[in-house]
């Protein structure tokens, strides 16, 4: 894939004149669209946890669709404008796609919008064939998630291409926009893994293996691509902030289930659990990259980042999970550890008050830690390569 491509020598050598031009409206529009989509997804999950009733016309669905359409249509407009009426500067800052021209990020947004649209009839049929799903991870939802991922990625690339061409002052402003978009990028992974990130799973090897597969990739990408000293930290901070704000605000609204059976008599919107403490490994990623990025090649750097991720993430998430599961202080709106969905039967609620035991015949946990480090290293390696590629994107 493109992430694994080393930049061509001829391209790297090419002189780049920094531009003073302001960031385009399109990049900001797409970032707003991506934000709408991610807030909509969070709201939709919360809606399913509290109210349950699902039609196409729920406000959360509309926000997701509006965000997707905002990104897709604005990108489509830019493509048409650049192709048929674009100035030389605009055409020169674009790439060719089936005879049309637009920045790479715009094409990725259009593609993402197309994937989201494709997922709609697929998901509708899926509900008719197998029943209304209460699962996040299903084939049509995966198509939707890939579309959403593409829109967030498109937003990142549109801003990145400008950052990479911009003069230092504009570059700094764009870098903060990028950090916010990077937060959405991390949030996308986190939401998709919600079903595998329950509190009771946070002392199991599988949880750490899964998180190691995605978050080092995201953090390493941000750490390299965004021209901020604390880039990964800033992206993780945005992720944490968005998740916390949504968690605290949405739960203020009253709600009652409209579907049954109701095992938990919900009176307000139930929101997702406290965000994962990705912020801790993110800080360490930045420290490692600040000190070693210029000195080491990708492979040893990825190995170090993988080990760092596992050690730091486990060091903070493990005791925090203990707190969330066992401490009465964790109950309540601040830490949200009693966010039981309306359909959770009492026997399952009891299971959430302890950690999942290891599966019979499972390997020793230390072996799993080593496996997790290996996974995290591979993930970080891909992230570093992708981050390097992103620093080279000019269009």
């Amino acid at each position: 894939m493109a992430t694994a491509i080393e930049p061509r020598e001829s391209i790297v050598r090419a002189a780049v004149e920094p531009t003073q031009a302001p960031a385009s409206w399109h990049a900001y529009t797409v970032v707003v669209g991506a934000l709408c989509v991610m807030v909509g997804v969070y709201w939709d999950i919360s809606w399913h946890m509290s109210i349950g009733r699902d039609t196409f016309w729920t406000p959360a669905h509309l926000l997701i669709q509006a965000g997707g359409l905002l990104a897709g249509i604005s990108s489509g407009y830019v493509a048409l404008e650049t192709t048929f009426r674009g100035s030389d500067a605009e055409r020169n800052a674009s790439v060719s796609f089936w005879g049309f021209r637009a920045p790479l990020g715009a094409w990725i947004c259009i593609w993402g919008c197309g994937a989201m649209i494709t997922s709609a009839p697929f998901d509708n049929w899926w509900h008719n064939a197998y029943g209304l799903d209460v699962k996040i991870v299903s084939p049509p939802h995966t198509v939707l998630a890939i579309g959403i991922f593409a829109i967030v990625l498109g937003a990142l690339l549109l801003t990145l291409a400008q950052q990479n061409r911009a003069a230092p002052e504009l570059r700094r402003r764009l870098a903060w926009v990028l950090a916010g978009t990077g937060g959405l990028f991390i949030m996308n992974f986190a939401l998709f893994l919600t079903e595998y990130s329950e509190r009771r799973m946070m002392h199991s090897a599988f949880f750490y293996e899964l998180t190691a597969a995605v978050f080092p990739f995201a953090l390493a990408t941000m750490g390299r691509a965004i021209k901020l000293r604390w880039a990964a930290t800033a992206a993780a901070l945005f992720y944490t902030a968005i998740m916390l704000v949504l968690m605290w605000i949405i739960q203020l609204f009253p709600a009652t289930p409209k579907l049954g059976p109701i095992y938990q008599h919900v009176t307000h919107m139930i929101t997702l659990s406290f965000p994962l403490l990705i912020i801790a490994p993110a800080v360490c990623f930045d420290i490692v990259l600040q000190r070693l990025d210029d000195r080491l090649s990708t492979m040893p750097l990825a190995a170090i980042l993988g080990v760092v991720f596992v050690l730091v993430f486990m060091a903070v998430q493990w005791p925090f999970a203990t707190f969330l599961v066992y401490s009465p202080i964790a109950h309540g709106r601040l830490f949200n550890a009693d966010n039981f969905v309306y359909w959770m039967p009492p026997r399952y609620e009891a299971l959430t008050r302890r950690f999942d035991p290891p599966a019979p015949g499972a390997w020793p946990f230390a072996v799993h830690v080593l496996i997790t480090m290996a996974i995290a290293s591979v993930s970080a390696g891909f992230g570093l390569l992708r981050g390097r590629w992103m620093t080279k994107v000019r269009r």
Binding site: S10, W125, A161, Y263, V393
Partner: protein
Amino acid sequence: MRRLRTVATLLGVAIIASADVGSPNVIFDGNAGPYPVRVVVRPPTVVPGLADVIVRVGAPDVRRVVLRPVYARVGANGAPQGDDAKPVSGQRSVYTGQVWLMVRGAYSVYVSISGARGTGTAIVPVNAFAAGRLGLSRGLGALLALLGVVLLAGLVTIVRAASGESLLPPGQTLDSRSRRHANVTAAIATPVLGLLVLGGAKWWSSVDAQYQRSMYRPPAVDAAVTTAAGDRAAGPGRMLTLSLRDTASYRALLSAVIPDHGKMMHLFLVKDPDLSAFAHLHPIQTDSLTFSTPVPGLPAGRYRVFGDLALENGTTMTVTTSVELPELGVSTPPRDPDDAWAVTPVVTQLWPAASVPIANDRLVMSWAGTATPFHAGEITELRFAVRTRDGAPANLEPYMGMTAHAVVMHHDGSVFVHLHPMGTVSSAAQQVFVLRDRGDTTRAGRVRIDSTPAAMTMPAASEFMLPYEFPKPGRYRIWVQVKAGGVPWTAAFDADVVK
């Protein structure tokens, strides 16, 4: 039903029944407090799914009709507040709505009617099972394939641009080496993306296989007939034993059998293929999965076997098999006084007019319905009158708590349902919900049924009506049973149902 059938035909839905065979729609005729009501529930073929509900209220003073889906394990306390059914324009006193059945198992639709005389609620039990598998229509398949190909081609193009042109500073053009590099990258990406799509298809297949494994099917059942020496005075008897059993993938019964109309099982035997003999028997339960009964009256031959069961979890089911009955030999007396059978080599058409002598020619059962053809997918009132030879109303007695019982079966055996004047619902399943709402439950969810639910008693009028919705066109056999002089009697009719 017509719509459901059309969809089923178009998309290849295989409808497998639960408390019936091939007749999933539920009909209730009764009262919601002071209001006479008829409720039709058309359950979804997948769960979670939407059930269509049609309510016809036989009273003018109705202000509001509310539908609530109530799951048996939690009762009304764990049900949502419900939604208002909307009045149908142009049809007086008819309301429609939809309810979500979210999990598999026993639901009831609680139909609450408010009006000048207060509020009353009717409980209509519905089984929520995955009963159908929707095929992908050719049009939708083509659309998804087209979109998929466009997306894949677009992605390959994006990969090519991402590894080539996008890395160039504005104004520069790709040299041949960079272009070759971008092309190679796109060429590598193509099979990788293809593999990912194949992985997605594999995932879809595994979800589909898992779904098919979890679709409802009645438990496996073995039938055996013995002709052991029975009562010395009666001579050798003919005993039929039904043994339900678990299979590798399916557990026979998820909860205990409870009596319905006072019987642990309602067993029906229908002679194959000419339907010329019929019996409605009531086996005793010898252990949790075994039922046995003497088989009196019927001639030797091959028989279809249908066994209706009500379970403590609120579900109802029909088990089916077939059995070869040997010659009767000396008579086999019935074990249960409500056992009834009939041999009817010649059967008359129900419509437009039919009369069948019963009770040793002392009574006549006649069709008393309207003279219109029966249409599949529409509510049909099967109305009968029982009179003496001189035309006076017969003096009927309740038969297992009901004025009449009836069995409707498509001649090819694809539809089978046990009807009463109250419709297709099981009174035992209704009882489960009443007990649950009263709080007669344990924390684990089992209903504390210490004794059999009291058999319903209702006045045995000489004219009665059985509401039913024929699910598909074809020729149906209808056996109607009433009790007179302490003995149950059976009359058989044929009915042709058109589209």
